[in-house]
């Protein structure tokens, strides 16, 4: 189903290593440990969506990012790389740093924020600075699946946008069509690849790796179909924003406290 054929298994072991290497802090280690414990079964034995334990009709996933909480540690990007065996130089998730003044602004994301952020000097008077984590928005009206000539990119009933690496022809049309730069052609499989919200994890009741390791809970993952879900509560009752709303792609990754500079 997901394009995680390409080595989720190996990624899992590295995930522990990656997690332990993180910026430290008990929260991270403890959560990382629990993620490891519950991920010991092989992904191939994951219940098929729509049958068995997991029923994709019962969920509608959504992602929530509070930009004020992100400290730019890059744990999420490292965890993602380890969990999903993301090739070097490509990113399923990344963090952007904004330094904003009234005259000018500066944005960067060295190695996708994977190694944290070195100090930066800007040539203007900066008034504010903040980090913005980015992932695939799992858009509801998604242009990337619309353009796929063979239907290899698709949206699941529980709201995840996935790529079937077995039928993707590697035309790259979806890469062009995604307004957010979320997709890339995997250099080894030559097929499209992107964030899956760790579909192999969420169908087992776990959170995506990036959410699990985020030490400040800047990243949250929830179920819009579940009563009392904290993400659902924010999406339904708080003021939330989305990226590039004018393109009408209906992102399912919501933001709070997004700045006008962010695209």
């Amino acid at each position: 189903m997901s394009d995680c054929h390409d080595g989720c298994d190996g990624g899992r072991r590295e995930f522990l290593a990656g997690t332990l290497k993180l910026a430290g802090g008990a929260v991270v280690t403890v959560i990382g440990g629990s993620a490891l414990a519950s991920s010991s079964s092989s992904p191939t034995s994951a219940p098929r969506p729509g049958g068995g334990a997991y029923d994709w009709n019962e969920h509608l996933w959504a992602y929530l990012i509070d930009t004020t909480k992100c400290i730019g540690c890059g744990s999420c990007a490292r965890a993602c790389k380890a969990e999903n065996d993301v090739p070097d130089g490509f990113y399923r998730t990344w963090i952007e740093r904004y330094v904003v003044g009234s005259e000018d602004s500066h944005v960067d994301s060295p190695n996708g924020g994977m190694d944290g952020f070195p100090p930066v000097q800007v040539g203007f008077v900066a008034n504010k600075s903040f980090f913005v984590p980015k992932i695939c928005n799992h858009c509801r009206a998604t242009p990337c699946t619309q353009v796929c000539p063979v239907g290899a990119s698709y949206r699941t009933k529980d709201g995840a946008v996935l790529v079937d690496a077995e039928s993707c022809i590697g035309c790259g049309y979806c890469v062009q069509a995604c307004p957010y730069g979320s997709r890339f052609i995997h250099p080894a499989t030559h097929t499209a690849s992107k964030c899956t919200w760790c579909y192999h994890r969420i169908t087992k009741g776990l959170k995506p790796a990036c959410v699990t390791v985020c030490p400040t809970q800047a990243r949250q993952f929830g179920d819009l179909k579940k009563e009392g879900d904290p993400v659902r509560a924010v999406v339904e009752h708080d003021r939330v924003q989305i990226l590039q709303g004018h393109l009408l792609t209906e992102p399912q990754c919501y933001y709070t406290h997004l700045d006008k500079e962010v695209r």
Binding site: P143, V147, P149, S167, I169, Q176, Y180, G181, S182, H190
Partner: protein, 407 residues
Amino acid sequence: MPEITGFAFPNDIHVTWSLMIVMYPYITGFVAGSFIVTSLYHLFDRQEFKPVARLAMATSFAFLLVASLPLQLHLGQPQRGPFVIVTPNFTSAMAGFGILYSFYMLVLVLELWFVWRQEIIERARRSRGTKRAFYAALALGTYDTSPEAIEIDHKAIKILAGICLPAACMLHGYVGFIFGAIKANPWWSTPLMPVIFLLSAAVSGIALLILLYQVHAKLERRPVVASCVQALASWLWFFLILTITLEELELIVMAYEKSESWLIISELLTTRLSFSYVTMQMIVGGLIPLILLAVVVLMNRYLHEKVRNTLATVAAFLTLIQVFSMRWNIVIGGQLLSKSLRGLRSPYEPEIFGREGVLVAIALFVAPFVILWVFDRVLGIEEPEGGPAANPPAAPPGAAPAGSHVP
């Protein structure tokens, strides 16, 4: 690693659509453009195009045979290419390619058959053994060259040309649609895109025929009919004016609107694409041929025939460069710009060897000429002098006399 100025989304620094995707519209452009030329004769009875009508049709066919190759070569999983036809996803602009391509191929082959039917029969009659069997098979068993049968041929040619012309325009306009319908990319996303692609296809087709016609005539030791070159030059001028006007209007609108993307697009054009856009597409391939062709058309009476032909030939050559630059600037240019609209990557340099490299691109461009050569061997592009097909398709009364000029 490509260098980035400003900020690009980290996945945006790869040029996913390579040189092959530049070749794809370039080649299909010739398919549509040459068919437009042949239609001017077969459909609109412009007799001045008679000397190039068959060559144009054969050229369209030759380029059509290679038109899908750049796409195939570009795929990450080429062996899965047929999935596009077997399991198409109809919401995709790309899924239509197989259907349009096969449809145009079918109609064009039918049309070719009617146009070349008499030669096929002639050759079947003249030859022996396997050769005879080959031509007999091509003739599909009918050897009827009676005036009535020829009359039917002419009708069929006209009807088929009437289907083929819109099909050719669709095939190429659709290429523009593939880009124009990508809302994620402000450099592509404009409804003008299919129109610009189509007009520049006409430009490239006519320009190619100006060159090809003269080369072919020289090779065949036939005289070059100056009025034909002249007429082609006039139409080239006309289409070039339209193309460049639209290409510029698109920019002017963006600039005047001060659209959100204009800042980065203007930077793209003046830095990364300053050579391929400003120098090649606008000046060398645009302004200069516009002037040359204006001279050819407007001062036609004062110029010696040789001078006119030379000017038209130079202009044709330059416009071929213009169209290639335009394809390059759209396809590659659109990928140098990050969708963050905050950054540009360093210019893309295609690989030399390799599946999507420069050598393959050159081979793709040369292949149609080899096909044309084979076509000429097998069927003969020009009708034999005084041969069976010497009479032109029935021209309606009042049709333009041979050698007349564009309105």
